[in-house]
């Protein structure tokens, strides 16, 4: 799976592929990271609808690089999340059907929101786990 799928090449002679957009995005990333360090909470940068060429995307991804964390989330399709080589800068990529990239953004902070477990899910899980234990107990009892 590459980002190329989003921007299939129509011709061997498209206009200059590196448009300078990646440079602009990187500058924005730097600015937001500085704000985060100063204690602010900053919104993510959404790459989905940006007029980036596939070269721009590759350039951006390559220059942000890979850091220490890589995660895959399986929920309503697959998602890939990794911390870039710059701590606090996260690359979040959601896939739709057929492994198509559905949305893509750069998030800032300790970890992207999607990695945290939601309180509602946790309480549901607690209930489920309790119920599962109860039924196991019951089975054990009947077994005796």
């Amino acid at each position: 799976m590459t980002t190329q799928a989003l921007h299939p090449s129509v011709s061997p002679q498209e206009p200059p592929r590196l448009t300078g957009m990646s440079e602009a995005v990187l500058a924005e990333v730097a600015a937001r990271l500085a704000e985060v360090v100063a204690g602010a909470s900053v919104p993510p940068i959404d790459l989905t609808a940006m007029p980036l060429t596939s070269e721009d995307r590759a350039d951006l991804e390559q220059r942000l690089g890979r850091g220490e964390v890589f995660a895959t989330v399986e929920s309503a399709g697959r998602s890939q999340i990794w911390e870039t080589q710059f701590s606090g800068v996260w690359f979040v990529r959601h896939f739709g059907e057929n492994d198509r990239i559905a949305s893509e953004c750069i998030e800032f902070g300790a970890a992207p929101e999607i990695l945290f477990s939601h309180r509602a899910d946790m309480s549901a899980a607690a209930r489920r786990l309790a119920a599962a234990l109860q039924s196991a107990d019951a089975r054990e009892k009947t077994d005796h």
Partner: protein
């Protein structure tokens, strides 16, 4: 927010039962906020809104149309992310999709209307014939016109899906034999959202419904009642072939060297510069491509009267009418008037001449 009294479970609870985590909401929300260009950071708010919302009752009316809009919507709804849309709504009436038929179907519509009075959303695809009392299209003996009026009466909002519903579309194209009209020409006292396109982009339909469900308000609309999120920019603005336009590199035909090199399609009639839609960014068929990428100019299908804009293959800058004969006539008339004016002037001069020199006859 229409909080139903304790009855129905929230969407969050509903999906919880099916093992769908809140991460799915968050993911869907971040996807939606991306395509709808919602303010950065609104994804979690949207996710919370969705999770706490009740299922929205939707009545889908199909009038003078080709079912292309429904096809478009359903084609995109294969499992995973976008399938959530069907979990968000309770599609209480839809010719093509509902199992019930005949009287049972009409009963379902009436029941939904009664149960959710003032809260249901009416989605319309197709234009409404208004000529001769609207007899050109009826369902179960009721004219489209009457059914629309009756159904919209107690609706919270009306969504006109597709160019036919939004602007009259092809049924309204000259000479418009059925007197086809757009929804907002008939319903004037309800909030109306137009999602034009022939067909509209599925994400636009899904996005608007989701927005409505979670925020219970209309998204920001343009002067044609189109959500700015999807119709805020032209195809041309976001077209990957735009650099060719600026550099003056144009395909002159569909099979020339320029076309093969992917040059701008302006000269072969692309209406991208005046067409507001998200095709160039969201694309079609799961992001595979869109018309310009496939080598054909934009037809401008999400714009009013796109069928009557002088031809799909005539460049945008050409005038709409054949002016040759009119201009030739004008040139002839101008020459005649000029000759007449000169003749009158000459006569003036001659009469002055005679007045001044009554004895001289033939001098110029």
């Amino acid at each position: 927010m229409p909080q139903a009294p304790k009855l129905a479970p929230t969407l969050g609870e509903l999906l919880q039962e099916r093992g769908v985590s809140r991460r799915a909401f968050l993911k869907y929300a971040s996807y939606l906020s991306a395509v709808m260009a919602l303010p950065a950071g609104s994804a979690s708010a949207l996710a919370e809104g969705l999770a706490n919302a009740r299922r929205q009752s939707v009545i889908w009316l199909s009038f003078q149309e080709c079912t292309g809009c429904t096809e478009s919507l359903t084609r995109s709804f294969s499992p995973t992310l976008e399938s959530l849309i069907f979990d968000l709504i309770s599609l209480d009436y839809h010719h093509t999709l509902q199992a019930a038929s005949g009287e049972a179907a009409e009963k379902a519509r009436e029941a939904a209307m009664a149960e959710n009075k003032g809260k249901y959303v009416v989605v319309v695809d197709g234009a409404v014939p208004t000529k001769d009392g609207g007899l050109y299209s009826t369902i179960a003996g009721v004219s489209n016109l009457d059914m629309l009026k009756a159904t919209a009466k107690d609706a919270m909002a009306v969504i006109a899906v597709g160019t036919c519903a939004a602007f009259g579309g092809i049924p309204k194209a000259r000479p418009n034999p059925t007197g086809a009209a757009a929804i907002d020409e008939i319903i004037t006292d309800k909030p109306i959202i137009n999602i034009p396109g022939c067909p509209p982009i599925p994400e636009a339909m899904a996005g608007v419904v989701s927005y409505l469900v979670s925020f219970v308000k209309l998204p920001e609309l343009d002067h044609l009642r189109r959500p700015k999120a999807f119709f805020g920019e032209t195809i041309h603005d976001r077209c990957y072939r735009r650099p060719f336009y600026e550099r003056g590199l144009f395909a002159e035909g569909f099979d020339d060297a320029g076309a093969r090199q992917g040059w701008c399609l302006y000269k072969v009639g692309c209406k991208g510069p005046v067409t507001y839609n998200a095709c160039a960014t969201l694309k079609w068929n799961g992001g595979v491509s869109f018309p310009i990428q496939s080598g054909h100019g934009c037809l401008g299908c999400s714009e009013p009267d796109f069928w009557d804009q002088g031809g799909f293959y005539r460049p945008l800058s050409t005038n709409l009418r054949d002016m040759g004969p009119a201009l030739a006539g004008a040139a002839l008339a101008g020459a005649a008037l000029g000759a007449g004016a000169a003749w009158a002037s000459r006569r003036h001069q001659e009469s002055y001449q005679r007045e001044q020199n009554p004895n001289e006859g033939d001098k110029k």
